[in-house]
């Protein structure tokens, strides 16, 4: 029987499952809360909200590529990059995603796409300049893990409660719900019902925002783990992370602004970036990531 050096982190799984469960519970609470007062309109809003989430997920690759002005590169154009990804995919036994390069100084990389077969891994010219080959490989393995874990899908589903809650708030602003109230002939406490719905959706939105960020940080830790086990060189990823975080603080203001529309574009972070997180807290703190990589290095280096 082959021995494995892989040590599963059950604590991380437990925390992540708890967060996902709470997000699911929030969604149910929102639906029940809406159905209670505005049965027919709530259903329509819910369907629209889920439709928005679906489109975000379905067109995640195209939208992200356009927002980052990335272009797909062929094996002839970027042989080293393709060679690295070829080998990593062969080791992980996964389909090879498309490869794209975005022309920006921001040292960043992301993976997106609706399924592992329709994914794009994109790196910026900034990261290609900053990192050594070994470090770049660590980053690519991290992004490939996002693809394998279907993180775009997971995060989109997780964000659907927040999207629907956000839409209810928006509808309430435009008086859409007021219309529903009169149609329903709900005379008793209609005004109170309206504020109750607004309150519910705002609370759901706030909670789901915080939970989503938490879930996102856990997913990053998971991708770090799997990426490190894939390349068997946790120290390369660690040095890449350290380098990128340092670089992010030294980057010119112009580039940070230029990248902002990208962040705002996705209600759910459909783009799994490596670096912007230190600013927006969709990513765990560097120290936590390095600690985890050190533990993996220990498990790989142990003599048996």
């Amino acid at each position: 029987m082959a021995r494995t050096r892989f040590v599963p982190d059950s604590g991380l799984t437990l925390r992540m499952t708890a967060v996902m469960f709470m997000l699911g519970a929030l969604f149910v609470a929102l639906v029940v809360g809406l159905m209670y007062k505005f049965s027919s309109y709530a259903a329509i809003i819910g369907v629209i909200g889920i439709g928005v989430a679906f489109f975000q997920w379905w067109y995640s690759d195209k939208a992200a590529m356009r927002a980052m002005r990335a272009r797909e590169v062929s094996p002839e154009e970027a042989p080293e990059l393709h060679g690295m990804i070829d080998r990593l995919c062969a080791m992980a036994d996964m389909a090879k995603p498309r490869v794209a390069i975005a022309d920006t100084d921001l040292p960043n990389a992301f993976a997106t796409g609706r399924s592992p077969n329709r994914s794009v891994v994109c790196v910026t010219t900034g990261i290609l300049r900053t990192l050594t080959a070994e470090e770049l490989e660590g980053v690519l393995a991290h992004e490939l893990s996002h693809v394998a874990h279907r993180d775009v899908l997971v995060m989109t589903v997780a964000s659907s409660a927040g999207i629907v809650a956000g839409m209810v708030t928006r509808f309430a602003q435009f008086g859409g719900l007021g219309l529903g109230r009169s149609r329903n002939n709900n005379n008793s406490g209609g005004g109170i019902g309206f504020f109750a719905v607004l309150l519910i959706s705002l609370v759901v939105y706030a909670f789901s925002f915080v939970l989503l960020r938490l879930l996102s940080r856990y997913r990053e830790l998971c991708a770090d783990r799997s990426g490190a086990y894939l390349t068997q060189k946790p120290s390369a990823l660690a040095s890449a992370l350290t380098k990128i975080s340092g670089e992010m603080n030294a980057i010119p203001e112009r580039d940070l602004r230029a990248a902002k529309p990208m962040n705002a574009f996705f209600i759910a972070p459909a783009v799994r970036g490596l670096t912007l997180g230190t600013l927006t807290a969709t990513h765990p703190p560097l120290q936590q990531r390095l600690d985890q990589l050190a533990r993996i290095a220990a498990s790989l280096g142990q003599a048996r």
């Binding site: 082959a2 050096r5 992980a92 036994d93 090879k96 080959a133 893990s145 790989l300 280096g301």
Partner: protein
């Protein structure tokens, strides 16, 4: 990977499938008869050496295992992508001895828990006009594919397909040709 693994985000590193390697000697005979490709007697195991002392010790043990009782010496080199190639050279006509040696290296790595780091294994063939062809074994898929480089970054796709058709009955050939990754610079090995 299943839904549960994706949800947990903790995919286990995939383990190699070593069993199919022993189908190689039969395929080598077929290739010689059908296409005039004779084995060169050289084969290599390509893997990602993990960081840390355990990996170094395992590699030394694997080399020693192959070289025991006057067995062939192994050469080790790290390529430009950071993968380690352990090359074994035996007598050209004895493909089964070569496969046994390659398998010994694999097992040594696998029993020490470095199975997930195994990338591929190659054995070389030579045409009458001395052009090289290779059969590449993908550990994670448990399948083979032919690789015929014609230059630093060009390959003879037609010949690869001919080889596929010739040995299709002897070997499990990788049906998805997008997985037939090029290994440029394999000639130097």
């Amino acid at each position: 990977m299943g839904l549960w693994d994706a949800l947990r985000g903790q995919s286990k590193p995939s383990q190699p499938n070593l069993d199919q390697l022993f189908a190689l000697p039969g395929a080598a005979l077929t290739l010689e008869a059908a296409m005039g490709l004779s084995p060169t007697g050289a084969g290599a195991v390509c893997f990602r050496a993990a960081e840390g002392q355990a990996s170094v010790t395992t590699q030394q043990e694997a080399s020693a295992l192959v070289g025991v009782d006057g067995g062939p010496a192994t050469e080790s080199r790290v390529d430009e992508y950071g993968y380690t190639w352990l090359t074994v050279r035996t007598a050209p006509e004895d493909t089964s001895a070569l496969v046994t040696d390659l398998h010994a290296v694999n097992s040594a790595l696998e029993t020490q828990g470095f199975g997930p780091g195994l990338l591929c294994s190659t054995i070389g063939f030579r045409d009458v006009d001395q052009t090289s062809s290779y059969l590449v074994y993908l550990y994670k898929k448990g399948s083979f594919y032919p690789f015929c480089p014609t230059g630093s970054s060009t390959r003879n796709t037609l010949k690869e397909r001919q080889i596929r058709d010739a040995v299709g009955a002897d070997l499990p050939i990788e049906p998805d040709t997008t997985r037939w990754m090029p290994i440029w610079g394999i000639q130097d090995r």
